[in-house]
């Protein structure tokens, strides 16, 4: 894992409040599992039908019928439950999941999210992302600030097909932590060593920055 990804995950772990029910999306967010202390009183939901999963210890044999939605063999913690897909998505649609983390291809100033389809290039299906993005109380995006060609992923308006409209609360990238507010994207934290001018240069959206309030991470 790159240093940038580690910085994103370390920062993301601070978003989790003890007592919450939390879903970790496929990809980078799944790795967040390993950044949450095991004694943290949090139940991790996985949409394939488990509430209260935890990473398997190195000395634990895998249970081949106990996976998370990314396909990793997992274990459960005290207070866990297993259930079918209808109940799992009822939990999501009824906003009983407090917080979810997801990756993104594009996020925009309105909090619109695109993370499931690149027409003509990538269309494996949407899985559970649409319901999670639309209905979980708080959606935090974890992604690189720019794609591998250097293009901005934080935009004025998404261009790719949307996963859900106006669903994102906060964006954590390798360069900044940004909140979606009625006024626009407000920068909460900026990466150590990066200037506000450099951050603006790497972003295709208007950023609201209050230097007095700005944190570093």
């Amino acid at each position: 894992m790159s240093a940038d990804q580690q910085r994103i995950l370390t920062r993301a772990a601070r978003e989790v409040i003890p007592g919450q029910i939390v879903n970790l999306g496929i990809g980078l967010p799944t790795r967040l599992f390993h950044y949450l202390p095991e004694d943290l009183e949090v139940l991790v939901h996985s949409e394939n039908g488990v509430l209260g999963c935890r990473p398997r210890h190195a000395d634990e044999a895998p249970d081949y019928e106990m996976i998370d939605s990314g396909g990793a063999y997992i274990a459960t913690r005290p207070g866990a439950s297993v259930f079918d897909s209808a109940i799992s998505f009822a939990m999501i649609r009824r906003s009983r999941v407090d917080l979810t983390f997801m990756g993104a291809f594009e996020v925009d100033e309105l909090g619109n999210l695109a993370n499931w389809k690149i027409p003509g290039k990538f269309s494996p299906g949407i899985g559970g992302a649409m319901e999670l993005a639309q209905k979980v109380k708080r959606l935090v995006i974890l992604c690189s600030h720019n794609d591998k060609h250097g293009n901005a992923k934080i935009l004025q308006r998404c261009r790719l097909p949307l996963t859900a409209e106006r669903c994102v609360s906060r964006i954590i990238t390798d360069k900044a932590v940004m909140d979606v507010t009625p006024q626009g994207l407000t920068v909460v934290d900026i990466a150590e060593g990066l200037s506000v001018a450099e951050l603006r240069e790497a972003t295709d959206a208007k950023l609201i920055v209050d230097d007095a309030q700005l944190g570093r991470f």
Binding site: S46, E47, N48, G49, V50, R56, P62, D63, Y64, E65, M66, I67, S69, G70, G71, A72, Y73, V82, F83, D84, S85, A86, S88, F89, I92, R93, S123, P124, G125, I126, G127, G128, A129, M130, E131, Q134, K135, P161, L162, T163, A164, E165
Partner: protein
Amino acid sequence: MTLLYQKYRPIEEAVAAIPHGASIMVGGFGSPGTPFALIDELLAQGQRDLTLIKNDANEPGIGIGKLIEAGRVSHLITSHIGLNRDAIAAMNRGELHVTMHPQGLLAEKIRSAGAGHHGFLTDIGQGTEIATRRREIELEGRTWGIEPALYADFALVHAERADRYGNLIYRATASNFNPLMAMAADTVIAQAYRVDEPGSLAPESIHTPCAFVSQVVQVAPATSEQGRRAHVG
């Protein structure tokens, strides 16, 4: 109607009831809950031009991946096939028609059929391309998308334990779509690692009551596929 004492069958006989062109729900999310033995029997018997309804396409060489590779599936109704590059390639070549639904809507469409309803109203997908392909209605001041129920001729489900009448118990995350599909198809074929005499399972422990299950077969525990997963842990 299958009478209670007629449900416990050899696997060959249960699967032989499936004709060419059948629509078949297949349980499982990834490997857990996938009825591997029933799928292998279907592969061996040669039924073709199948419509499969499954959350995902398993992985290359595993589960319904085998049926897709053998060219036996004409239509797949699913939510995500990202772990099966062969299914994606077949889709892109136009050999496999794929209909994608958001996962929770797929589950609920099946649940709705199983509950004896013909669909439901939802706001999931409003403002996305999912909403552009369905009808909408105004009700109590809001706009709702209409999602019809999803039925099938057959369902193939996997349970941990069963009894001869077809009462089923699922285990861990192998439940997923199985209990929903077990209610939504005209003919439901269940495989279980252990099929006991009626009375050996506590009534309050049953997940799917036997009234929904047409046939039950016993299969060997944990095929090698169960443990084959190309994921990062």
